[in-house]
Amino acid sequence: MTVAPLTPPQPLLEVSNLCVDFPSEGHTVFAVDDVSFTLAQGEITGLVGESGSGKSVTSMAILRLIQPPGKIRSGKLRFEGQDLLTLDDDAMRRVRGGGIAMISQNPANSLNPVMTVGDQLTRVIRLHLGLSRQEAYEEALRGLRQVEIHSPERRMVQYPHELSGGMCQRVMIAMAMAPKPRLIIADEPTTALDVTVQKQIIHLLDQLRQRHGVGVIFVSHDIAVVSQIADKVLVLYAGRAMEQGLVNQVLTAPRHPYTRALLASMPYLGASKLRQRVPVIPGHVPNPTAAIKGCIFAPRCAHRIDACTAERPVMVPVGNQGAVACLRAEELAEAPSRLTGVRI
């Protein structure tokens, strides 16, 4: 009797030690510096961090859409076992939209203003599914219905400016879903929308994940929004990974001082979204350059010690599936109650 080999299910996406540089006069910005994570089929990973922490650059890098002079300096990107960095341009183009689809922050600007919604939808569908005009039209209608757009026939002949922001985002989701991708990268998909629409869009993405088993990378500067949808979370700061783990664990027992500060700046987590949140952490995200040694969060960290600026902390596994990059993570975990403070 033969025993079926017990291979662990292959992850949908593997990002290993990704580094993205933007050279500019005098210095190079390490926009993404040694970031790794994996995503399983049907899983939602949240990418959080303040604006400028490298979330969009990470997303763009996965699609190999970093515009020169920026470039992926090193790292590995494996999608369904395929090495994306060695694919030729045509194959990579088929992955874009076909295997991995992207929904971006500003739905109103993501559609061509002089093309009808229908033309744009059917173009993408025909490109990836090779359907006839008529079949693609039917498929587009089906897609619009799936994202709960009413009278889709009418929408097909409209131009983007005739739709609301929320409606445009639904169209973008329909366009992303139509070619049946296995991974969706949603880069701040709700940031430009009002709270009600925000909820609907999140609900929609969750449904699509359940129904079609797509993996989702959900990017947001707002850890509260991420907590509503994600299974796992990766906290980025100035291009480096600070902490990662299951959402519940990270939210209830954050290990990294930056994660704690992020959470502390959102005291109404889970409560009414209408109330204004406390301003974010004092200071700003530095432009990560070669000059920065040691922990990149050190200048704003309330728990900094001399060692922090000498040695760069590496990601150390903690708990179930978690990891944290802080020299003092273990030590600080002992006394969690005193740890929400931030140096001003």
């Binding site: 859409l65 939209g97 971006s104 002089v114 173009r123 993408v124 490109l127 400016h161 973008m172």
Partner: protein, 318 residues
């Protein structure tokens, strides 16, 4: 009856045009009156007697009050009747009919040449910044601004017409004498005319292509796997052409003045030549007619451009 939004818009614009056209005609008519010296004196010469002057003035309606003259002239003009040339005694309508075709042909060929060069060059300059196409655009821009047209006209006549004899160095061969000789007689001035606006239009297209290519929807298109070539030539170009179209409309005026000058340099029997001859001969009725016609032409072309603009850009509501 059902009229589309576009139809209503065009009708509205045409109605708004009436006062503009009246203004154009009034200006063309009265500017001539401001010029020193009476036309009649020019026609009769210095030695004419007072009585002869009066008689001719009465014959030409020049003894009437200004607005009486204007309205009777306008009433005739509206029926396509501009009177006789003072100098040649040929009906002006006939003179214009002969000349209009030449100027129109010159302008249309020039616009086609401009677009044929400006579109690929503008797109290439935007997509290959700081490389050869971009430098070419910059060179053309500098050359276009700093070299006077009549100078390049004369140089080109000499080189291509006299030295190499590729094209006719001047003079006009009507199309009835064969298509090729005809084209050889108009191609050089048409190219120079095209060159006048080439730099402006190419640079405008380059700038708006750069603007459009940096917009979100282009990057979104890439993330959906749409080929770069399609994004540039379909998505971006259609967007970038909209503001460029306005500039093209504005350059029609420059083109018309260029045509006047080039028709003189190349001795082509167009409207411009007619206008210049009329100026030198103080042929006032011809001047009035041609100026009015050019003014109306300019206004109408810009109306067409506006309509084209609103058809290209779905965001424009009438």
């Amino acid at each position: 009856m059902q009229i589309s939004a576009l139809g209503r818009y065009i009708i509205k614009r045409l109605l708004l045009l009436i006062p503009v056209l009246l203004g154009v005609s009034l200006l063309s008519f009265s500017l001539i009156k401001l010029a020193p010296g009476s036309a009649v004196t020019y026609m009769l010469g210095d030695q004419a007697s007072e009585a002869m002057v009066r008689a001719l003035e009465r014959q030409l309606n020049l003894d009437q009050p200004f607005f009486t003259q204007y309205f009777s002239w306008l009433a005739n003009a509206l029926q396509g009747e501009f009177g006789m040339s003072f100098v040649t005694q040929i009906p002006i309508t006939e003179l214009i009919a002969q000349r209009l075709a030449v100027t129109l042909e010159l302008s249309v060929i020039a616009i086609v040449i401009t677009l044929l060069i400006a579109i690929p060059l503008g797109v290439a300059a935007a997509t290959k910044q700081n490389r050869l196409p971009d430098h070419t655009v910059r060179f053309i821009a500098v050359a276009g601004v700093s070299i006077p047209d009549f100078w390049s006209g004369i140089i080109l006549i000499f080189l291509l017409g006299v030295q190499f004899q590729w094209v006719a160095p001047g003079g006009y061969t009507p199309i009835s004498e064969g298509l090729l000789p005809h084209l050889r007689s108009v191609i050089l001035p048409a190219c120079i005319l095209a060159f006048i606006n080439l730099a402006l239009i190419t640079r405008m297209l380059r700038a708006s292509m750069l603007d459009v290519l940096s917009q979100n929807f282009i990057q979104a298109g890439r993330s959906f796997g749409i080929a770069e070539r399609e994004l540039v030539w379909r998505d971006a170009l259609k967007n970038a052409f909209i503001p460029t179209l306005t500039v093209i409309g504005l350059t029609i005026g420059i083109m018309l003045s260029g045509a006047v000058m080039l028709e003189t340099v190349f001795s082509l029997p167009g409207l411009g030549k007619l206008l210049v001859d009329a100026v030198f001969q103080r042929d006032i009725p011809v001047l009035q007619a041609v100026l009015t016609l050019i003014g109306c032409f300019y206004v109408l072309v810009n109306l067409f451009i506006d309509v084209g603009y609103s058809m290209l850009d779905p965001r424009i509501r009438f």
